[in-house]
């Protein structure tokens, strides 16, 4: 059944392909509910965890798919399973802690207990007390279990999907994206820390911001203000066939990539404008390809970030129409030497909620959200770089923003 709001949004999408986006999409409860059903719980892979967060049998983590609470757990066989975090009895959260270790998952409400594969193993007082009460004879434990997600790991990332028909993760990522995921996850990962950034805007405004390479040198003035020039850099945007995944990258030309790109890629034109302590710009070409920045998205809500040597997973979680959380998981590798480990920590000054080149992104979505009340049937303009959603050898384009809407409209039926 299509609600009034759905019908309104359907009618509202102008007949201009992907170059217009109705503002109604950022503030409509019916759209939000449809997103949960068709995008987050639909045929899409959602990031759940890093494999290294759950090293031992019984290790679990609680997270979300969209706004749906989920448990991720490693079982005794070493497999990672995921379930909706909702007891099959009365619907309470089964796991409350963010991380933990358990031999069974037991709901605190009535002590229904599940094994690490989500099967119901124990029901308190199933046979009643002193021959009275208890479950009727037709009650069968095997009829009740935690609702499972399909789970696949790729390059140390654990993904889950509520829809059994979701294609294998490798097919989902496709031939352009998969190797670029592996590129930033080539070795055994070590978590360096977590932060959560709360945004006062709809989740899609942040996804668009990540995919929008047009704004980068305009909104983020750190490099220009300090006259930190990026010499001989090339770059571009890769959009996969679905439109939903993208890569934005910049690269130092091979002749100047000498393994230590501090001098080659970033230097102050004029010492008077430079940083007093430029050590945070020191980097290493750790993937041996001269690519200094790679921002990669996997539809709908995963961002993999390489900004020089600062590596992070950003998991985007909707928390209502106008509230979004970015869960930042910063990582390095088990075999990082001390110098590289130090670079990662120092370069973290550039990203995150206080990042020199990213803090504006925490607020700009809210600037749109706050301007929406009068938008009515109006639409935003997404015309930079044409009308399509194909890969382009420039970052002065909105092609990957259009790609997102292409994939989104397909799943949403809008």
């Amino acid at each position: 059944m299509i609600s009034v709001a759905d019908a309104r949004a359907d009618a509202m999408w102008p007949d201009t392909g992907l170059t217009r986006v109705p503002y109604a999409l950022y503030g409509d409860a019916a759209i939000y509910a449809r997103e949960r059903e068709r995008v987050f719980m639909g045929p899409a892979w959602n990031y759940l965890a890093l494999d290294c967060e759950l090293p031992n049998p019984g290790d679990f983590k609680t997270t979300f798919v969209g706004d749906v609470p989920v448990i991720v757990v490693r079982d005794a066989d070493g497999a990672i399973n995921a379930f909706e975090n909702r007891c099959a009895h009365r619907g309470a959260l089964v796991c409350l802690e963010r991380f933990g270790n358990a031999r069974a998952l037991t709901c605190v409400y009535h002590a229904w207990s599940y094994d690490l594969k989500g099967k119901l193993k124990g029901v308190a007082f199933q046979n009643g007390v002193k021959g009275a009460g208890g479950m009727p004879p037709e009650f069968r434990r095997e009829d009740h279990r935690l609702r499972p997600l399909k789970v696949e790991s790729f390059a140390g990332l654990v993904f889950g999907s509520f829809d059994p028909k979701t294609p294998p993760i490798l097919d989902y990522l496709g031939p352009e994206i998969a190797p670029r995921v592996r590129r930033v996850l080539p070795r055994k990962v070590k978590v360096l820390g977590y932060f959560t950034q709360v945004l006062r805007n709809n989740w899609k405004l942040y996804i668009e911001n990540v995919k929008d390479s047009y704004h980068a040198s305009i909104l983020h003035l750190f490099f220009t203000t300090f006259r930190l020039n990026r010499l001989s850099q090339s770059g571009g945007i890769v959009v996969d066939a679905s439109g939903g995944h993208h890569i934005s990258y910049s690269k130092v030309e091979p002749q100047s990539a000498d393994g230590d790109y501090e001098a080659a890629a970033l230097r102050a034109d004029n010492a008077a404008f430079g940083l007093k302590d430029p050590s945070l710009l020191s980097g290493r070409d750790e993937f041996d390809d001269g690519i200094t920045v790679q921002i990669l998205t996997v539809f709908p809500t995963l961002v993999l970030q390489q900004i020089q040597n600062c590596l992070a997973v950003r998991q985007i979680l909707p928390k209502g129409l106008d509230r979004t959380e970015i869960v930042w998981t910063y990582y390095g590798f088990e075999d990082d030497d001390a110098a590289l480990a130090g670079m990662r920590l120092k370069q973290s000054n550039m990203v995150g909620p206080a990042g020199y080149i990213s803090m504006e992104d925490g607020a700009v979505g809210a600037f749109v959200q706050r301007a929406l009340p009068g938008a009515g049937a109006d639409s935003s303009v997404v015309m930079m770089g044409g009308a399509g959603a194909e890969s382009q050898p420039t970052r002065a384009t909105e092609t990957s923003v259009r790609g997102f809407w292409k994939a989104y409209r397909g799943l949403m039926g809008l």
Binding site: R98, V191, L192, G193, Y194, F195, T196, Q197, V198, L199, R200, L219, L221, F222, T224, T225, F226, L275, K276, D277, S279, L280, E325, Y330, A341, R344, L345, K346, S348, N349, G352, P353, A354, Y356, M359, E360, G362, A363, A366
Partner: protein, 161 residues
């Protein structure tokens, strides 16, 4: 400044230092903020979750006073954010260790953020884990680890804590 001779003297000196520190930030006199630190200071903002697990990443991670000066310069000249200010409320400090001219102290803090339109938010609570050097003419932070109780940051963190 003389090196504190006992915990009471140290507590008094650290409380004064923290009061000056809060006044500097809350009055938007950020150009004076780096002077509260030694040349080779460590200043880091982290969360209790990360701190308890020895996870090293910081929202801000500086290992020199010059990096703090750069931070202020960036806030003044480069970064774009809505006008806002803080009000720090800092607890009586607890002296953890005195060793020569170095005092380790901890104090709880609460920071209210005041937006330009008058909206007030409880922006951060946590504790300062400080190492203070009394060697020079005025005490300075050799290390200041800002341990946030919550790892959630609303919108952005521009002004230091």
């Amino acid at each position: 400044m003389p090196v504190p001779v006992d915990d009471a003297a140290a507590g008094h000196a650290v409380a004064n230092l923290l009061a000056d520190y809060a006044a500097c930030i809350d009055s938007d006199a950020l150009e004076g903020w780096p002077d509260f630190f030694t040349d080779d200071c460590v200043y880091r903002i982290t969360s209790a979750f990360n701190y308890a697990r020895n996870l090293p990443i910081g929202i801000i991670h500086a290992d020199s006073r010059r990096m703090l000066e750069d931070r202020v310069a960036a806030l003044r000249k480069a970064n774009i954010y809505e006008k806002q200010g803080y009000r720090h409320i800092i607890s009586v400090p607890r002296i953890v260790l005195r060793k020569g001219a170095v005092v380790d102290a901890e104090a709880g803090f609460l920071v209210v953020r005041i937006m330009h339109d008058g909206v007030l938010d409880l922006f951060a609570t946590g504790r300062y884990v400080d190492r203070i050097d009394f060697e020079a003419e005025k005490p300075r932070f050799a290390e200041k680890i800002v341990v946030l109780d919550s790892e959630k940051i609303d919108t952005l963190l521009a002004i230091p804590l």
